[in-house]
Symmetry: C2
Subunit: 448 residues, 2 copies
């Protein structure tokens, strides 16, 4: 990142010196991703000057990596011809992403400058549901026919390949555009020139439907180590492909979304800094409110045992320890299960295996913690009744919280709720109520 900052200074200096030649050369030696990162940091005027200097092909690629805010600023300041050049360099999935992010006046300007034949495809792509394979696929793939020889196929790729998002997997279609086979460029390059594709192609095609959840599509790409996966419509016609770089983005976004849900935050598509204070507040307040009201139940239980803690005030000071340990134990179990479900390592049908494992872990953990706290209390307070109370409470609390933490995410999944909602905050609140109840029940029966 330091390097980028150096480059920014250099570019700023070159612009001030109007040294366009050297600026061009510097940009030529940079990767498009880095150029877009630099444009994000430059002031508006300088970033436009820099963008205009880029070559036509480069401009499209750099543009596709910019944030929506900067993309909007760039478009507002380009002429219609310039817009046409940039937009028509973009792959179809990037065009669609752009249109989804821009305000309506900018969308109109973009659509006016898109090629007529692309406009129809864009409209179709915009119509796929938000999280579907269709919404992230691109339409620039290589299609071949099974009667071609390797040589003919390579000739076709040479002719059309430049504009394809990937040429490393080629798709073999019938004249009705039904997908019948796949061949990798590796196989094409290595094979005899006169062999027909029919004899070389992989016919056991792993594909997804346009409506498939994009998270499942990303997982499939990762599971099979594919560079792209074909997307077919309900008539088995090939309509697009999802490439591995988009799959990685989906995997990252889903992990972020899960982590946010697990911390009782309504997940948001936008970044931390680009989300406003009120949106941040709204995303967080709903769950806080639900959890706050739920924890008054725990308060109600405590209030019922007023006699107990008025007789033995010391009982009150162990409430945080019991609540925290229960909450943490529950959070550990629920986190492991939620993550296991997300990575497909754990399935709903494993529920008994999970419970059996968690109960044994809870016995070990609860046993050790219970014994340690008893020793601690004996050493500090020399009160055997209190020591036994706390030891037993911890054992029961740990067992119950691990059981709740492990089962709730699985139940959520079973009834088609998002398991990530059953994470730390909700589990903590439920476990709190139970642990306080256990605590005072044990305490009153042993100590009073």
């Amino acid at each position: 990142m330091e390097e980028i900052e150096e480059k920014i200074e250099k570019i700023e200096k070159l612009i001030e010196e109007k040294n366009i030649n050297e600026l061009k050369q510097l940009l030529n030696n940079l990767n498009s991703v880095d150029i877009s990162a630099i444009l994000e940091e430059l002031d508006k005027e300088k970033s436009l000057i820099t963008f205009r200097i880029l070559s036509k092909e480069n401009a499209g690629e750099v543009f596709s990596y910019l944030s929506p805010e900067i993309q909007e600023k760039v478009i507002e300041n380009l002429t219609d011809t310039e817009i046409k050049n940039v937009i028509n360099e973009l792959y179809m999935d990037d065009k669609v992403d752009l249109l989804e992010e821009m305000p309506s006046n900018v969308v109109k300007r973009i659509l006016r400058n898109v090629k007529r034949e692309d406009r129809e495809i864009i409209n179709e792509l915009l119509n796929y549901p938000e999280d579907s394979a269709g919404s992230i696929m691109t339409t620039e793939f290589v299609d071949l026919s099974e009667d071609m020889t390797v040589e003919e196929a390579l000739k076709e790729i040479r002719k059309t390949g430049l504009d394809k998002e990937t040429i490393y997997y080629c798709y073999i279609l019938t004249w009705q555009r039904t997908l019948v086979g796949i061949i990798s460029l590796k196989k094409l390059v290595i094979s005899e020139k006169t062999t027909k594709l029919k004899e070389l192609m992989e016919t056991n095609v792993i594909k997804v439907n346009t409506l498939e959840d994009k998270e499942d599509v990303a997982k499939m790409l990762s599971k099979y180590n594919f560079l792209a996966i074909p997307v077919v419509d309900k008539d088995e016609k090939l309509v697009g492909i999802v490439t591995v770089d988009d799959a990685i983005d989906v995997i990252q976004d889903e992990a972020t979304e899960d982590v946010e849900k697990m911390a009782a935050i309504a997940p948001s598509e936008d970044g931390y800094f680009s989300t406003g204070v009120f949106k941040h507040s709204r995303n967080r307040i709903v769950w806080l409110l639900i959890l706050m009201l739920s924890s008054t139940i725990t308060g109600g239980i405590i209030a019922k045992y007023e006699n107990a803690f008025m007789a033995i005030p010391l009982l009150v000071s162990f409430i945080p320890m019991i609540m925290d340990t229960g909450g943490n134990c529950g959070a550990q179990s629920s986190t492991l299960i939620i993550r296991g479900l997300a990575t497909d390592e754990i399935e709903v049908k494993d529920i008994l295996k999970v419970i059996w494992k968690e109960i044994r872990v809870a016995l070990v953990v609860g046993g050790v913690l219970g014994i340690l706290i008893s020793i601690f209390v004996m050493a500090v307070y020399k009160n055997i009744a209190l020591a036994i109370t706390l030891g037993l409470t911890l054992l029961f609390t740990v067992m119950l919280s691990k059981f709740i933490g492990a089962t709730l995410p699985l139940i959520a999944k079973k009834i088609k709720l998002d398991p990530a909602l059953m994470a730390s905050p909700l589990i903590t609140t439920i476990v709190d109520t139970c642990s306080v109840l256990i605590y005072f029940t044990v305490a009153t029966s042993i100590m009073l």
Copy 2:
């Protein structure tokens, strides 16, 4: 997954009927990833029979997708010749992974059957630090020289490409094996046959060092949308490449590790089910113990205010609500910051921007929650002093917990600790102490 279960039944039936021909045909139509998933589910005998039926090339690929437990069982039951065939089909990174997972007697048997020239490379690869680029790279890449023409390059790829992990990026080396350029197979296929690579190759090569953290390598592959990234040693000599499929695995593993740390679990490389009860217990108990002992501090503070809650017992029943809300607010902030740091969206230098944002969010959230709880308490208890106490306590608690939750992960990163450790459990414990202190300070000054 249902499909897989159907296939398993079919395979079991075919083996029992000794119908090897049909079994072969069925396996031919399956992807290696699916075959390995099937082998995991079959009983030992049937899974060995099935494995032996696979073609030589297929056997290597299927083997590389098996879990270490099954890999061990397979090797134990193969002859030396069979082992040789399987192992020598594996890519170098998979060979190294295998050796790292197997017990020493199996390692010896494998090494005995590895080609002599590979043994040296394997030993070098095994010596790289655990989380480094060197430990996950493979050595099967295409190297070309800059004086070759496109035609010569394609001929070379045709000759050696079959055994390379990827041929889609080719690396251009000097005779001393220094990396000077990269060319994609796309560019080779599309370009004129007589052009020299020198004129076509990308010389602004983005590469990593063997000792680079594998997480950073994975992030770079994702950032630049690469299919592979070259790994060079300290003399700038190309020693390997990291491919995108391995990068995805790293990204997934790191996300799991972060989530586990954020739930106060010592992260483990093994899966949920393959980790034993005692290892699970050990992974969880250390943090539980630390947090349990810390929360006795909160208990100590409560004990100090015995007079206050003996005078107004109702105060005790709001302790859970205050603690939970504080903990949840802190967890929300710390989670957003930890995830932002993990995805490079937030950097340590943004600390003031983060604090400014969190303070404003805290004012909104704390204000709303404070007002709501005051109304609730007035409605239920008709006690204006208690209503004001709780309202103010919540406002202060939310502000403090969001401040602590946002700053601790950034400080951890600054002093080179893992920010993920500053997640919910630790924040909750710290915030508990503060919030109880705020609560009783406000309560005693308003209500007593």
